[in-house]
């Protein structure tokens, strides 16, 4: 802080040297043995009320006042990834990892850990399998199993403080590119790194850039796709919340490489915090001369604007996104012409997603060879996954390409609650598919996932257990896509609802095996005929579940039962008289008055009245109500 105080009048950095000078000054100004208390302020932890924890901390420290030799600094950071354990508090430098911290625990933390250096054991993480208590992040498999490239700074830096980002090396790659490299070399470097688009399709980024770059001169654009629509995926949000500078830096590099002077970030309006941090990052970058005219004296001009999405999943598709930026209806347009030739406002444009841009800044900083050394032959680098669903460690994980599903879910994810295996892992969001336990050792990379009938997608990884019905899951994704289809091209607009109709019949125990064959044929027609990727991949959910869980389909159709006990029309609720205490909670909750019984005596459900709303189950404190 004090460092910049003197030249705060003009913080503009005129050259690479000035940037590096500032960086070293900032690092030098740090007190090595000062304790730092890091509180996670990612959306997950905030929803779990981490701000009050921070508040309590400040108060407690102030109260403890003179007893403390070196006053610890409190840093609020972006998401640490371990969302299911939030709010998270980490004590640096010793990296003590406290989880599910309540404001009430703060006093103790200050008294013990800060003053006397001992740990508060009840706040530590306990290994679900081994049961041992783990003290630091390094010891926790959730972290130790990861390879953090994109996420490296997230949870370490204060995303609203650019100087903190400088300390972590932000804008080094960009400075290198702008001052020591020709645009052509930059593209070469990215190509050499083997980086592929993290948005889903995995198109080689370097190639994409060179296509746009070949148009000599004229107006061009770079865009960042931050319209993270896939349900169950929130990597991009965390990156923007936790390290917005990585994205900004990447886009500047991209702009320089293809010769664009304007960038657009199209970010989902549902991510207010991400937008806030992005805006702050852009302002700070401008103030430091990292955006605007003649960046770092390179003569390169570039600035970035933010567009908030207006709530249309299809705008994740690049042509639709560009129409939306133009203020039009977000309907995809046929390609060719490709965006690299005629994109935004009809000008050559390059669109990458958040994670890709973040990778770019790392690549330019650490070099293509370093990046290429990670991952597999065809899929270089790492991938961030949002690990959610029926898994112990719900959160964000970043792993090298090619590591197995088993490793991610069972090791890093800490396994499936109450089971030694998962039933299925759904990747790739609505465009992806479900992979069975048999594929647990499948290496996770672009090509093998596609071969297995799913896809990488933007990195959602939803773990499912035996209580999840595959027919229902497929139905869910089709329902989602039916909602979100733009309705322009016929195969998607007409076909997806028809697929869902068929599945509906199945989940009612109707339908025939012939329907399954029709399903295949229609699905193929939709894949082949649709205008954009949304339609083109829509049938994956059905196809993959059919491929791996056909038995479950047949159970619905032939035996009229839902093995997972999900499909409303094939299940009945009943009360276990052994367990029921007759507390009346359920009968009060039941909107149909279907539950009767005397006080303190086991109740019963009148099936003809039951609408299977599950209210009774939710209201029963004794777990007396089960689904058959």
């Amino acid at each position: 802080m004090q460092v910049t105080a003197k030249n705060s009048a003009d913080m503009r950095l005129g050259s690479l040297e000035e940037l590096e000078k500032l960086r070293s000054e900032l690092l030098a100004a740090e007190d090595p043995d000062q304790t730092k208390i890091i509180v996670c302020h990612g959306t997950g932890c905030v929803a779990n009320d981490s701000p009050s924890v921070t508040k309590a901390l400040k108060a407690a420290l102030a109260a403890a006042g003179e007893d403390i030799k070196v006053m610890p600094g409190i840093k609020t950071t972006g998401c640490h990834g371990f969302c299911s354990r939030g709010p998270l508090v980490i004590i640096k430098p010793s990296n003590i990892f406290y989880q599910q911290v309540k404001p009430g625990d703060v006093e103790e933390i200050v008294q013990k850990t800060i003053l006397t250096g001992e740990t508060v054991d009840r706040l530590l993480y306990v290994h679900p399998q081994t049961g041992e208590t783990l003290k630091t992040t390094e010891e926790i498999p959730f972290y130790s199993g990861q390879e953090r490239v994109v996420l490296s700074n997230i949870g370490q830096i204060d995303p609203t403080d650019i100087e903190d980002a400088f300390k972590a090396g932000a804008y080094a790659g960009m400075a290198k590119a702008l001052t020591n490299m020709e645009p052509g070399q930059v593209i070469e470097e990215v190509t050499k790194s083997g980086l592929r688009g993290r948005g889903g399709a995995g198109f080689p980024t370097g190639l994409k850039w060179s296509l746009a770059a070949k148009h000599q001169g004229g107006q061009k654009y770079v865009l960042c796709n931050a319209d993270e629509g896939d349900p169950g995926a929130f990597m991009d949000r965390s990156v923007m919340e936790g390290d917005p500078h990585a994205v900004v830096e990447g886009m500047i590099i991209g702009g320089y490489a293809i010769g664009a002077d304007t960038g657009y970030v199209y970010v989902r309006a549902e991510y207010p915090l991400a937008i806030k941090h992005l805006v702050k990052a852009l302002d700070d970058a401008r103030a430091h001369g990292l955006l605007g005219e003649n960046i770092l004296g390179s003569g390169f001009n570039f600035d970035i604007r933010i567009n908030r999405g207006a709530g249309a999943f299809v705008c994740g598709e690049e042509t639709a996104l560009m129409r939306s930026v133009e203020g039009k209806v977000g309907e995809p347009v046929p390609r060719p012409p490709y965006p690299s030739d005629k994109g935004l406002f009809g000008k050559p444009s390059v669109l990458n997603n958040v994670e890709t841009w973040a990778n770019v800044s790392r690549i330019l900083d650490k070099g293509a060879d370093w990046f290429a050394s990670l991952g597999t032959e065809k899929s270089k680098g790492t991938k961030v996954f949002a690990l959610v669903g029926k898994v112990n460690n719900v959160g964000l994980v970043e792993v090298p390409m090619g590591i197995s599903l088993r490793n991610i879910v069972m090791e890093i994810g800490g396994g499936v609650p109450g089971s030694d295996h998962f039933k299925a892992v759904q990747t790739g969001g609505p465009s992806g598919g479900c992979l069975p336990w048999e594929d647990a050792d499948l290496p996770v990379d672009f090509d093998s996932l596609i071969a297995a009938g799913s896809m990488m997608g933007s990195g959602g990884m939803i773990v499912m257990d035996e209580r999840d019905c595959m027919v229902d899951v497929a139905k869910y994704f089709l329902g989602f896509l039916e909602e979100e289809s733009c309705g322009k091209c016929f195969p998607c607009r007409l076909g997806v609802p028809r697929l869902r109709e068929t599945l509906n019949r199945f989940s009612k125990g109707q339908g025939t095996l012939e329907d399954i064959d029709d399903l295949y044929s229609l699905a193929e027609a939709i894949k082949a005929g649709s205008l954009c990727a949304l339609g083109g991949t829509a049938p994956n959910a059905v196809l993959s579940t059919l491929r791996y869980f056909r038995g479950e389909y047949e159970a619905h159709i032939l035996e009229h039962r839902c093995p997972a006990g999900v499909c409303k029309d094939l299940i009945t609720y009943s009360i276990d008289p052994e367990v029921c205490t007759g507390c009346r909670a359920c009968s009060r909750a039941c909107p149909q008055g279907a539950i009767t019984g005397e006080k303190k005596k086991p109740h019963t459900i009148e099936e003809s009245l039951c609408i299977r709303c599950g209210m009774c189950m939710e209201s029963c404190k004794f777990g007396a109500i089960q689904v058959i």
Partner: protein
């Protein structure tokens, strides 16, 4: 949400952006945020300003989920239907809430007190099932919990 400002000057909003078609969505978003819906008067103003034909503006306003052409209720309850939440029964929760408020589909109650919306993944999957009530996250909600919250708001 409950306390929406009621004297916002729409012209001030209009003048935030240059009169070019690409700002249509920006304007609609700001108006939606300020008045929690886009009135036909507002739409006309936006068209005048941006030069977008009314039919196209209407098309845009109806294409995107985040715009509503009718006034929304005083209390906005959003239930997340992301995959993680779905697996944990958020579908039922939404249904139950709507039945409880006398809605047969997401929308606004006749007395303009509540608006129930289902939203795609809010990215808080760790807290599934999630609902957002007037902007505040409600982690790990259940039907009874959510209904209680709603009732409380109604009596304010």
């Amino acid at each position: 949400m409950a306390q929406q400002a009621i004297d916002i000057d729409i012209d001030e909003i209009i003048e935030r952006y240059p009169g070019r078609p690409e700002f249509l969505i920006f304007l609609l978003q700001d108006i939606q945020a300020a008045f929690n819906y886009v009135s036909s008067e507002a739409l006309t103003l936006v068209c005048d300003h941006t030069g977008v034909p009314e039919s196209q503006a209407y098309s845009v306003a109806t294409f995107y989920n985040s715009f509503s052409l009718e006034p929304k209720g005083e209390n906005l309850i959003q239930v997340c239907l992301g995959t993680a939440c779905h697996l944990k029964g958020s579908g039922l929760i939404a249904e139950n809430l709507m039945r409880n408020l006398g809605l047969d589909q997401p929308g606004t109650t006749d007395d303009l007190k509540y608006t129930v919306e289902t939203v795609n993944c809010l990215g808080a999957c760790a807290l599934a099932p999630v609902a957002v009530v007037n902007g505040d996250y409600q982690p790990k909600v259940s039907s009874p919990k959510l209904m209680k919250t709603a009732q409380k708001l109604g009596t304010e």
